[in-house]
């Protein structure tokens, strides 16, 4: 049986080389160059942590693509500890298996700048994802947080409507993270254009749901007539929503937040009215951008640190009204897909 199969395979191969190869191979050098440039290259993703939806989504799409073109894909999980992340990057650069592309999800504007410079010096392309940093990476792929803030503010204004109290509350993340600072700036830009709207309180949640709930509760007590709250991340917006629920203001306060567009985290919540609007990241497209720029960089032959490309993902505020079945991606499905392999 086995012998037979081998014979057939050999015959087929012979036939292909004999007839097919000469006719096409000379025509298109693309696939060969592509394979040559990419084969065996290493790509490493260092997010803030692997434990949240976006990171897992990115990892899923990147892995799929990188392994398809014969590269190696790895992740490092610093679990929100900046020091551990820094060490992971340091180790990666110094190790025998130095990655050719390093995708970094920066915790703040500064911390990794020097390491990224080192990585580029060692010949590794550095790709920043989602969080901006004060560093000219080879490419940045992710949200324009300022724009994102504007979208949120617009959604909140729309959610409040014309006949409302026009009071808006913010639940910020913290005062250090760029995603929080830029969001705030964006929101304020829009609100300047609408002077009738005012921000009545802007506490920080420190990205923690319980804190978010506590500050929102107090906010609602002081200003029960708030028409909309913008919480800076869906990770802690559950707290704000709980506070709204507690205050029996469900439906009266329009909660706007932003998130990675995961089904359980965002679409389901939009669906059940927990959130009024969510500015969602289109994960598949963002990951696609990343894959494209990785492939570009690896083939470009340019030294690391030459180009400074910015690729902002197109985003929009989604409400229950414009929810479609494919508005969100499903982490469970991705995991199931990965498990099936």
């Amino acid at each position: 049986m086995r012998l037979l199969r081998a014979l057939i395979a050999a015959a087929t191969a012979l036939a292909v080389t004999a007839f097919a190869a000469p006719s096409f191979a000379a025509d298109d050098p693309g696939p060969a160059a592509y394979a040559k440039a990419l084969n065996g290259k290493r790509v490493m993703l260092v997010p803030l942590a692997m434990g949240f939806d976006l990171a897992q989504g990115w990892a899923h799409y990147l892995k799929k693509e990188v392994e398809a073109w014969g590269g190696t894909f790895e992740t490092r999980d610093p679990n929100w500890v900046v020091d551990a992340g820094a060490q992971a990057i340091t180790d990666a650069i110094a190790s025998d298996t130095r990655p050719d592309v390093l995708i970094i999800h920066a915790p703040d504007l500064n911390s990794y700048s020097k390491l990224m410079k080192k990585a580029q010096a060692a010949g590794t392309y550095v790709l920043l994802v989602d969080n901006p940093a004060n560093f000219p990476a080879d490419a940045f792929v992710g949200s324009d947080w300022d724009k994102l803030g504007q979208l949120e503010a617009e959604a909140a204004i729309k959610g409040c409507g014309e006949n409302s109290s026009k009071k808006i509350g913010l639940v910020q993340g913290d005062q250090a993270n760029s995603s929080s600072l830029y969001q705030y700036a964006g929101i304020m830009k829009v609100l300047e254009k609408h002077p009738d709207f005012q921000v009545v309180a802007k506490p920080d949640s420190n990205w923690d749901a319980t804190t978010s709930r506590n500050v929102t509760t107090t906010m609602l007590q002081q200003h029960p007539d708030i028409c909309s709250i913008i919480d800076f991340w869906d990770g802690d917006a559950t707290g704000a929503s709980a506070a709204i629920r507690d205050a029996k203001l469900d439906g009266k306060v329009f909660l706007v937040t932003t998130g990675g567009g995961e089904k359980a985290a965002d679409c389901d919540k939009l669906n059940d009215g927990t959130y009024g609007a969510v500015v969602m990241t289109d994960l598949a497209r963002q990951s696609g951008d990343m894959n494209a720029i990785i492939k570009f960089l690896l083939q470009s032959g340019q030294p690391a640190g030459t180009s400074h490309t910015y690729i902002y993902t197109l985003e929009k505020a989604t409400t229950k009204a414009d929810l479609k079945p494919d508005s969100c991606w499903d982490l469970k499905a991705l995991q199931a897909e990965a498990a099936a392999k």
Binding site: W80, P203, W207, D208
Partner: protein
């Protein structure tokens, strides 16, 4: 007041000082802040510290028995996360709950066993088990930092339960506080905790089952942590395991210790936890109303707490002759 009619400052211990500060703050906020002295806000204050308070109750029981439980937060978050994960993957509710209760008890018993029978200091044991619980559940049992509560599950409904317009956490906190009070004050085993905390060797010698008691305390603390976790999940409709890396653990110890429960054991009770929780609750609420950014809140909180312990240090000085060894 003593016989000469002068106020006896020596009587003013840390609990008294913290209580006085809490009252002062309360009075100041009531006068100066609009909307502070409303029924809703007062309820909100209590509720904001109820989970913290519940955890501190468990911690207090352990500390009174001359121990400490650094695994409380890990148990709180991870047990509930596992529970919700089991539910989300389709395990039946009863079975899932049975698993989780068994797991929680197992960790509590492990803590107790290592402290009681292997004579390993509590701080090491619970540091280790806390780390293990987080690590094991996070890496083996759940896939994401945050686990949502399934739609319509009783935990979600629990979060909406109101009685006299007061949320359920407040009742649970009050109820648990009362139960722990009764337990510590009026039951045999409760008294045993004080004996064991005051002088473990003497307690053993007069025939108190010191070691089983130790195991009991850690098991109790673990179960209390589970209750706190369920309440957290109930109000947020999900549980985020990142809380393990936060400073919540420090806050728990702080609430217990700032209220006057000595880390060297044998002293304090539920009242101290309530005083500590009151101070923290009032402080945070007032600062949020004033809309002080979180960064500055921590600074102010720390300054006030530091003031309280310094005043206590000055009024009740300890010297080399009276200091207990290992009383850190």
């Amino acid at each position: 007041m003593n016989a000469t009619g002068r106020p006896n400052w020596r009587r003013l211990n840390q609990e008294g000082i913290v209580f006085a500060i809490a009252i002062l703050l309360f009075a100041a906020a009531a006068l100066g802040l609009p909307g502070f002295l409303t029924a809703d806000n007062l309820v909100a204050i209590v509720r904001s510290v109820s989970v913290l308070g519940i955890l501190a109750l468990g911690m207090a029981v352990v500390i009174i028995g001359r121990g400490i439980d650094l695994s409380a937060v890990a148990i709180m978050a991870m047990s509930v996360a596992w529970y919700l994960q089991l539910l989300n993957t389709g395990t039946s509710d009863g079975l899932a709950f049975a698993y989780v209760i068994a797991g929680v008890l197992a960790i509590g018993l492990l803590n107790g066993f290592l402290v009681a029978y292997a004579d390993v200091p509590a701080i090491f044991v619970t540091l280790a088990t806390g780390s293990f619980v987080f690590g094991y559940v996070r890496s083996q049992l759940i896939t994401q930092d945050a686990v949502p509560v399934p739609q319509g599950h009783w935990v979600e409904l629990l979060g909406g339960v109101r009685f006299l317009d007061i949320p359920i956490e407040v009742f649970v906190f009050a109820g648990l506080a009362f139960l722990v009070f009764l337990f510590l004050r009026y039951t045999k085993w409760g008294r045993f905790i004080y004996f064991a905390g005051d002088n473990p060797v003497a307690a053993r010698n007069i025939g108190i089952p010191v070691r089983p008691m130790l195991v009991l305390r850690y098991a109790l603390s673990a179960v209390v942590a589970l209750i706190a976790g369920l309440l957290t999940a109930a109000s947020l409709h999900s549980i985020n395991t990142r809380v393990v890396n936060s400073t919540l653990l420090y806050d728990i110890v702080l609430v217990a210790v700032i209220g006057g429960i000595g880390l060297s054991g044998g002293r304090g009770g539920v009242r101290n936890v309530l005083v500590g929780a009151a101070l923290i609750g009032i402080l945070l609420n007032a600062m949020t109303i004033i809309d002080i950014p979180l960064l500055y809140q921590n600074l102010i909180k720390a300054a006030i707490l530091l003031g309280a312990i310094i005043v206590d240090g000055i009024i009740n000085p300890r010297d080399e002759q009276t200091a207990q060894q290992g009383d850190i």
